[in-house]
Symmetry: C2
Subunit: 339 residues, 2 copies
């Protein structure tokens, strides 16, 4: 049901029955490696192109999630997902394999929580019995499409971020063991005029702050309601700006632990990832792999995941447009045993 | 509520309070010209790039729909939409102007009904009071991105289709005068192995047939329930294939009138549009401009709009992949006076 202007309260508390997370070699060397279902030591995942590799990651994550939930693809009413690739081909070609009715979405790196929010809304309103939400990214497909040919090995400024190679999928059901989705806030586009595509964190931070503050206001929850508020991929630069904005707005973020998936997935001391991780796969694998395990272990009870997206295209950048950004928030709470 | 496996029955019958349709010069010379709100005689719409022109069409359509409904942008809870451009920039930049919470979607030319289906679902389940669904396409942005630089003037085979320059937007509310959305069916990906991007109609026809048959089966409605079943942009080649498939499957399409928006928007005798129209704007402008006016005039009572999408990217085509296709169906019925 609608709560406030742009938030949903899920009274039926749809359950995340299972998740699947598959990552690449860099993520496999990061601090969260043990929390992912599959770690590939080969960026090609045995495929002939980076794009086919990205699709393969998502197919594996989906199959793993289905197996854990004891479901077949035929039992899933709707797959909700998208990715960074033009025409979201990674999701489309994966869902061709999975053969599920398909709701394609695009929110750049915010796609993970846009999908989970919509999936939970469908579940909560009785529009589905089982929904799968998924997304993925691949460092080399993103570099190739958004930046430079990977063979160039071009240098990057320290504000740049390193796109995560990974796929994360969640299966939602009406009841069962697992954490529950209790609320979501759909973000607005916030554009502060930043035009540097190598500083996405700075561009996205105001959108994240806007969504977090709106969420807390509309749900009438203080930040202290959550044990953890985590943004998607603001990384070091964006997280720092977000903290400044919270302070400027007198928003009591200090009531809770605030962190960022882009800071959690890599070790910036030992890995060359500039400001930190990014990509649709970043918040998806950290949330579905790491954070839900911490909920299962009882270390966290309530978290708010705020996936952030920079909605530019190479063409809009070339035409001198600034970077419109968005953030979607989903509240996940402890609900029982988690697989 | 869920009906069957992949359909929704909207018991609360959300109302299409108003629509906005804006088209370019070719559509303004077609047989439906009088049904559109604004016809531009300049493909640039006074903008500096084709992309900015496409965005401007959508902004105009949205503003026109808001004005007709007597609403302001601040009253719309969610904008649901997308387009053909990489990273759906036309919708994103338009929604930056409109300042509404944004659910970005991608379904290629099926985006129109994917958006309307989701919008109606949000309305039906009480997740919103007002939702706007919108989409757009521009002949020159699509040519440039998917085919050849527009300056080439490259020749096309007769199976090719002509991307509509146009934007269509609908505003949904809980009650009021206007046609109502009564059901929707979310499509599956159907890929029959066709690899020719100049024959999209043939590639998409099986997906349209699959969705129409699934819709009728799950809603327990014969084709005769509808006065008109209209596909999105199969155009001449695809429509012919769809008719063959209905016959082969012994599906009684002859119980109703079956047509295609791609055949309606242009006059193929006098306009050089090869097999007919295509693009997100095709089904959106024909539905929101023409078909809803026919419902308002009492000429139609119940229609099923089945928007079709070819989910390829230039890259997937270059890598030898076939064209995955999808179709989403929305049932619209007479519900009162329509503006």
């Amino acid at each position: 049901m609608l709560k406030g202007h742009q938030s949903w309260l899920f009274k039926n508390r749809p359950v995340i029955l299972s998740t699947g997370t598959v990552v690449g070699p860099d993520e496999g060397k990061g601090p969260l490696a043990a929390d992912f279902d599959i770690v590939h030591d080969d960026l090609t995942v045995g495929q002939k192109s980076w794009e086919k590799a990205e699709k393969a990651l998502l197919e594996e994550a989906a199959q793993r999630a289905l197996a854990k939930a004891g479901l077949t693809d035929g039992q899933i009413q709707f797959y909700v997902g998208g990715d960074l690739m033009n025409q979201i081909i990674s999701n489309t070609f994966a869902v061709r394999t999975l053969n599920m009715p398909y709701i394609g979405i695009f929110g750049a790196c915010s796609t993970s929580m846009e999908g989970l929010a919509l999936a939970a809304q469908l579940m909560d309103s009785g529009a589905a019995n089982y929904v799968m939400a998924g997304t993925c990214s691949h460092n080399c497909t993103a570099e190739k499409q958004f930046r430079y040919p990977t063979e160039y090995g071009s240098q990057k400024p320290p504000t740049a971020q390193y796109t995560v190679t990974g796929a994360g999928v969640a299966v939602l059901g009406k009841s069962g063991d697992g954490p529950v989705v209790t609320a979501a806030t759909i973000g607005r586009i916030v554009d502060m005029g930043i035009t540097d595509p190598f500083n996405m964190g700075a561009a996205m931070a105001p959108a994240a702050v806007d969504t977090i503050q709106t969420h807390c206001r509309e749900l009438e929850r203080d930040p202290s309601y959550y044990d953890l508020i985590v943004t998607g991929d603001l990384a070091a630069v964006g997280t720092s700006i977000a903290r400044e904005l919270f302070e400027k707005h007198h928003f009591p973020i200090e009531q809770t632990t605030y962190s960022d998936c882009g800071l959690m997935i890599f070790d910036r001391e030992t890995q060359t990832v500039q400001a930190g991780g990014s990509g649709c796969g970043c918040s998806a694998t950290v949330t579905y792999g790491h954070l839900l395990k911490r909920i299962a272990a009882g270390e966290l009870k309530r978290i708010l995941v705020v996936a952030t997206g920079a909605l530019l295209s190479p063409l809009s950048f070339q035409q001198g447009e600034s970077i419109p950004c968005i953030a979607h928030a989903v509240a996940i709470e402890s609900g029982g045993v988690y697989v």
